[in-house]
């Protein structure tokens, strides 16, 4: 295993585990909805056998609901696959806008559990950098987790990617609680600093603006 993985050690496994647990829970929910709608179809059949007419519109609506859940499951499994493959290479050219949309989709359920909504403003043109995909997902999650804690329930965390001279930056905004340092733990901590160092990145906390800026180089230097 590449020494880069050792930077995060057990935390990397924990991150993988947390995301996988959330994904599996969401798949279970999809299965439960499909199960109940299939059950409803069975109910209609049983009722029809006993002489109650079936409304074709109800059947159409049920089919639509099942199809919607199948599409949802397909998106979840595709994200799961992308996430699993993010450990394949230690350096890869990635589109930051895509990564951010992907991370927002992956974290959506965990954010909802905290009562926080996520919003991504994608860049108008692709912003590509060469980086370590798994480590960048990790640092984005860590920034996001902290942002959600600072924003608090019933709030929206907005994420945006911008092109910079020597790379790009990801901005986490709407973090009103940032200005009150006593209400949240310090950030970044040891692990975030290790990730930042490994990626050649930097984290700047703009307390007054309620923003966290993650600066990323165009390429990781060796």
């Amino acid at each position: 295993m590449d020494s880069k993985w050792n930077i995060i050690g057990n935390e990397g496994f924990k991150f993988m585990g947390k995301m996988n647990a959330s994904i599996s829970h969401e798949i279970k929910n999809v299965l439960a909805i499909i199960n109940e709608n299939a059950g409803l179809l069975e109910d209609f059949t049983l009722m029809a056998e006993k002489g109650m007419p079936i409304d074709p519109e109800r059947l159409k609506a049920l089919a639509g609901k099942v199809q919607k859940q199948v599409q949802r499951a397909d998106r979840i499994v595709r994200n799961m696959n992308t996430f699993a493959h993010s450990v394949d290479e230690t350096e890869k050219k990635v589109d930051l806008g895509e990564i951010l949309v992907f991370m927002a989709a992956l974290s959506k359920r965990l954010a909802a559990m905290k009562g926080v909504a996520l919003e991504v403003t994608p860049p108008s043109t692709p912003i590509a950098i060469t980086t370590n995909p798994f480590l960048i997902e990790n640092i984005i999650w860590r920034c996001l987790e902290f942002s959600m804690a600072v924003a608090g329930p019933e709030k929206t965390v907005i994420m945006r990617v911008d092109k910079k001279d020597q790379g790009a930056s990801i901005l986490f905004s709407q973090l009103k609680g940032l200005s009150d340092a006593s209400s949240h733990p310090s950030f970044p901590k040891v692990l975030e600093n290790a990730l930042v160092e490994s990626l050649g990145a930097q984290i700047v906390v703009h307390e007054g603006n309620g923003e966290i800026e993650l600066g990323l180089p165009e390429t990781i230097e060796h």
Partner: protein, 164 residues
């Protein structure tokens, strides 16, 4: 509800698991379903109505707590993974406000650890999603019967104390 519809619906109640007496027993029983998946709530509540039960739904824990304060339910069916407020916290508040409420946990991952924690928090039954509606209704029936026995024991004790 027309007579025919009521008869057909009654015949759907636990056809394999419940007796006719059980089907009649459950008719009109109030169940509060709490889950953040609205499509799930919609389908499950319709299946329960098809079986003669009287379900109400809440997609948020706060909503469920308010509903349980306004109305008395025979049984509460609760998901553990809820937005904003964890299922265990919701369960604790609901049990504090309504000590007599009977609870079935319906969750995506019914681990032994979660099961024990749920029981210690006052839940009496745990089921994993996706579940069989007949098994869920059987559990609801069991809890409603338990509640009735408690009421009967209370009334009997009261009558005995009055007559002595």
């Amino acid at each position: 509800m027309s007579c025919m519809r009521a008869t057909v619906r009654l015949s759907l109640v636990c056809p394999k698991l419940s007796s006719i007496e059980g089907r009649v027993f459950l008719f009109g029983r109030k169940v509060l379903l709490v889950d953040d998946e609205r499509d799930f709530l919609e389908a499950l509540s319709e299946r329960m109505r098809n079986r003669g039960l009287n379900p109400a739904t809440a997609a948020l824990a706060k909503e469920a707590i308010q509903m349980a304060q306004r109305e008395t339910y025979d049984v509460l069916v609760l998901d553990l993974n809820m937005p904003e407020m964890a299922g265990f916290e919701t369960l604790k508040i609901l049990k504090e406000n309504n000590p007599g409420i009977h609870v079935v946990i319906l969750t995506g991952h019914a681990t032994v650890e979660n099961g024990i924690r749920a029981m210690l928090s006052g839940a009496e039954e745990v089921l994993e999603k996706p579940s069989n509606v007949e098994i869920l209704i059987k559990k609801i029936e069991k809890l409603v019967r338990k509640k009735m026995v408690k009421v009967q024991l209370f009334v009997t004790a009261h009558v005995v104390s009055l007559s002595t």
